[in-house]
């Protein structure tokens, strides 16, 4: 979403009177509490299980400069004490009721969830609402948990050359947007995170008017509403909630390249990233075309890249393209190719580019497109078997500038995409001059 439109959208939203039950479709009910907290209920009464989630519209891209990682750090700290809960008591209570809880942080959101027997929903709400405004941290919490997140960085990133490489790719792709900074944070900034950083983030963003409650499973929307009003509805909104206005990317006018060398690399590969528009509210058509482009070009065994690079020329053992359109700001379209032994990175990159050029000439195979669309329709049938995944879909969308209506319109928008739409999207995005190309390779390898 571009900055100007985001501002308008935020303005409009505050004047729109939300009907009490704004949307009911496919077992999904949505409404808004008086304090501005959005609620989505996804019903599935086949098993006596409920998933209770609270999503905050605050992720790593909302962090102040210099304190990267604080959104995720705070996520960890929310499992410590509140006025009424001891350190760790929330998780212990969930477990003692047979449930599982956890949380996750991304660029645009932080989310907390419990999955538990349906008759324990009220207890979950009481505890989750409590920690929205009432955490009580000690300096000991800060010191210990900072070590935990540093170990997490060790485990997820520093021990994994592919993760380090991907971090550098993003840092290179985004010149001016906060998506350049890793969610977990840069180590040197993580090491300095303190109480003031954590509480500053908490006191800015952890309010009902910046949160979305999503309950899925064996529940009744009226009962969820009554409970939500009782526990979340009484929490005052933050009248000074900042708008999510981030510095935006300038047009990319030069190709960027990087080489990441690491002795631990076993399988060198080439990664390509192109800046791409994300799904915007009421304007998802381009993103839909890009979603299908990723499938057509590199979405599996019958995709164009796989056909040419793995079956025909056999230059690659693996090839794929990816696009994830749910993002508050500019997303990326990615291609990765892993060379066959004996094929150099230069050779496989050249083959990749030649294949992409050829694709832009050949266009979309209509039969393949029909198969993909049929699979997308079927995936809506399969999705009904996993209501929690549907709940997650709403969480990601609603924290990334989309509405319930946008989520529900998406399957039809995908079905309406034509081969011409896909090729127009391809010509717009697959521009080598506005791309980042990275090579992941061993120390000893010589570039040609």
């Amino acid at each position: 979403m571009n900055r100007f439109r985001a501002a308008l959208f935020g303005l409009a939203a505050s004047f729109v009177a939300f009907p009490l039950f704004a949307a009911t479709k496919d077992g999904v009910t949505a409404f808004v509490l008086d304090n501005g907290m959005e609620v989505v209920v996804v019903e599935d009464n086949r098993a006596p299980v409920v998933q209770h989630m609270v999503w905050y519209k605050a992720g790593s891209a909302d962090e102040p400069k210099g304190s990267s990682g604080v959104a995720h750090f705070l996520e960890h700290l929310l499992f410590k004490a509140t006025d009424t809960l001891a350190d760790g008591e929330l998780s212990a209570t969930v477990a003692a009721n047979g449930g599982r809880d956890n949380a996750f942080t991304s660029y645009d959101y932080t989310a907390y969830f419990q999955r538990v027997a349906a008759d324990r929903l009220e207890l979950m709400m009481r505890m989750e609402a409590d920690r929205m405004r009432n955490i009580r941290l000690t300096e000991q919490n800060i010191a210990t948990e900072r070590n935990v997140i540093l170990e997490e960085r060790n485990q997820r990133t520093d021990s994994n050359p592919a993760a380090l490489f991907s971090e550098q790719m993003r840092a290179t792709q985004y010149l001016n947007h906060r998506y350049a900074v890793p969610i977990i944070g840069w180590r040197h900034e993580m090491e300095t995170l303190d109480m003031a950083d954590a509480i500053g983030f908490y006191d800015t963003y952890y309010y009902p008017n910046n949160a979305i409650l999503i309950v899925s499973g064996d529940v009744d929307p009226d009962e969820v509403k009554a409970l939500a009003e009782k526990y979340y509805g009484v929490i005052p909104a933050n009248p000074d909630l900042p708008e999510r206005l981030r510095t935006e990317e300038p047009p990319q006018t030069a190709e960027r390249r990087l080489i990441f060398r690491d002795a631990r690399v076993a399988q060198p590969y080439v990664s390509r990233s192109y800046l791409a528009p994300e799904r915007d509210s009421g304007d998802q058509e381009m993103a839909a075309a890009l979603t299908l482009l990723a499938d057509v070009l590199g979405g599996g065994t019958t995709s164009y890249l796989t056909e040419k690079l793995q079956f025909d020329t056999q230059k690659a053992v693996y090839s794929a393209s990816f696009y994830r359109g749910i993002s508050l700001d500019d997303a990326t379209f990615n291609v990765v190719v892993v060379p066959t032994p004996g094929v150099s990175l230069q050779e496989v990159e050249d083959a990749m580019d030649a294949t992409i050029s050829q694709f832009l000439e050949d266009g979309v195979d209509e039969e393949q497109l029909e198969r993909i669309k049929y699979q997308l329709r079927a995936s809506e049938t399969y999705a009904r078997d996993n209501v929690d995944r549907i709940a997650n879909r709403y969480g990601r969308a609603l924290t990334s500038g989309l509405t319930v209506g946008d989520v529900q319109a998406w399957p039809d928008i995908l079905q309406a995409v034509t081969a011409d739409d896909i090729m127009a999207a391809a010509r717009m995005v697959l521009n080598r001059d506005a791309s980042v190309t990275g090579w992941l390779m061993r120390n000893e390898e010589v570039t040609q």
Partner: protein, 439 residues
């Protein structure tokens, strides 16, 4: 409102777990194939889980990795369809077939729509009964497996896993990675694929679970169409492993900022009458989320790790009790020391009544939460059949957990946990840790 609140309070004091209402029927096809079925007509598709006991442990001598590679080739063409034609057919049906080899079984997990069920079953049948194993596909998939093996050789977790298994399982197939080695996989031929296929796929080791939009009357003929052509017998099972874990530490130097450790000792079989006591014990010790003793001591109190876990590994031919942790090189020694201390404390003292109660409510309460979709239920039913559990097991399982007493756990902790026998394999540049035995 009041009603719901009352219900919640009642649930809290009684700690009665929710009951999963799963109605399993046994279906025997006209051709004699047995399956467990849960009818779930509300969504027009079905999940089908097939499992063949033996899995990669049936690899012939010198052919390690053959069954894994063979399994990877099942989706690469069958009958008159080559790899690409087969993939296009699956896409045209919007079906999903996945084939997976592991130490104890080869599994086939399928889901397909009601509207094209006969076509999906015919395609799935072709992949299982008459895969082509074309040389060109064999060579291509072999390169993918080799690429994975090269990555494993540089991955601290995989290095630790391989070293632990080599130390733990003597000369049993479990001692070596089921993906094989660069050398063994490179040498595999099409004949090896055919032999591996004959070894694995037979009726004498087949277990079936089906969940979804299908009746028993429809399922029987489906099973015969799908699996009727299987031979009666496959390769003999490898027999029990001799567990060769000795207490101590193995350090494998690897240049990385964080050391990873896999630790373990002999375990307890799932058929053992004390298994539930061990399950509850492990819940307290290291299986829980944030509230296990290991997590509390190593992460929450000391910040030594992002995660530490222990788990019972009751495989068909060997039962072990294992765990894993990762810590910065200069902190792993302390993590190891804390884990050894917790192992010894639990062995000596067992668990407290409060811990036992919390673990039991978790283990019983979490059980119904597993039955959350057609695929998961089909997999659970196949697992139950492989263990020889009765068809009404789901309704009685939690009673077995509830029956575990504090004395049971204390006794089993004393018998099972062996602080002296616990072996740590550490990969990294750990400060203050050295190998106690030659590696």
């Amino acid at each position: 409102m009041t009603r719901l609140f009352a219900a919640v309070m009642l649930a809290l004091v009684s700690t009665l777990p929710a009951r999963a209402e799963i109605e399993i029927q046994e279906v025997v096809s006209p051709g004699g194939i047995t399956a467990w079925l849960v009818e779930e007509p509300s969504i027009p598709f079905m999940a089908l889980e097939l499992r063949f006991r033996g899995g990669a442990s049936l690899d012939a001598p010198g052919k390690r990795g053959a069954i894994n590679l063979m399994t990877g080739l099942l989706e690469e063409g069958a009958g008159d369809l080559d790899s690409r034609a087969f993939a296009r057919e699956i896409e045209s049906l919007a079906a999903s077939f996945s084939y997976d080899a592991s130490d104890d079984s080869v599994s086939v997990s399928a889901r397909f729509l009601s509207e094209n069920r006969p076509e999906a079953v015919a395609l799935l049948r072709a992949s299982i009964i008459e895969p082509s194993f074309e040389q060109v596909a064999l060579d291509r998939v072999r390169e993918q497996v080799l690429s994975g093996l090269r990555s494993d050789a540089k991955d601290p977790d995989e290095i630790a896993r391989a070293a632990f298994d080599a130390m733990a399982y003597g000369d049993h197939p479990y001692a070596t990675p089921y993906e094989g080695t660069i050398e063994s996989v490179t040498a595999l031929t099409r004949d090896d694929m055919l032999a591996a296929h004959r070894a694995v796929f037979a009726k004498d080791r087949l277990y079936v679970g089906a969940v979804g939009d299908i009746t028993p009357e429809e399922l029987g003929p489906l099973l015969d169409a799908l699996l009727g052509a299987l031979p009666e017998e496959g390769a003999p099972q490898p027999g029990p492993a001799n567990i060769t874990i000795e207490g101590g530490t193995t350090v494998i130097p690897f240049d990385t900022p964080q050391s990873v450790a896999i630790f373990g000792q002999p375990g307890i079989a799932q058929e053992d009458p004390d298994f539930f006591a061990a399950r509850v014990l492990n819940q307290v010790l290291g299986a829980g989320g944030f509230e296990s003793r290991l997590m509390t001591e190593v992460r929450e109190k000391r910040g030594l790790t992002y995660g530490v876990y222990s788990f019972l590994v009751p495989n068909d031919h060997a039962a072990t009790y294992q765990g894993q942790v990762a810590s910065a090189n200069d902190r792993i020694a302390e993590a190891v020391s804390v884990i050894r201390g917790e192992w010894a404390r639990a062995a000596a003292e067992g668990v407290t009544q409060a811990e036992l109660d919390a673990a039991k409510t978790y283990v019983t309460g979490a059980y119904p939460l597993r039955f959350d979709g057609n695929g998961p239920i089909a997999r659970i039913m196949v697992g139950m059949q492989m263990l020889g559990l009765p068809i009404d097991y789901i309704a009685t399982r939690n009673e077995k957990v509830e029956a575990v007493t504090l004395q049971d756990v204390r006794r089993v902790a004393g018998e099972l946990l062996d602080p002296e026998g616990l072996h740590f394999v550490v990969v990294g540049q750990p400060v203050g840790l050295e190998s106690t035995v030659a590696n």
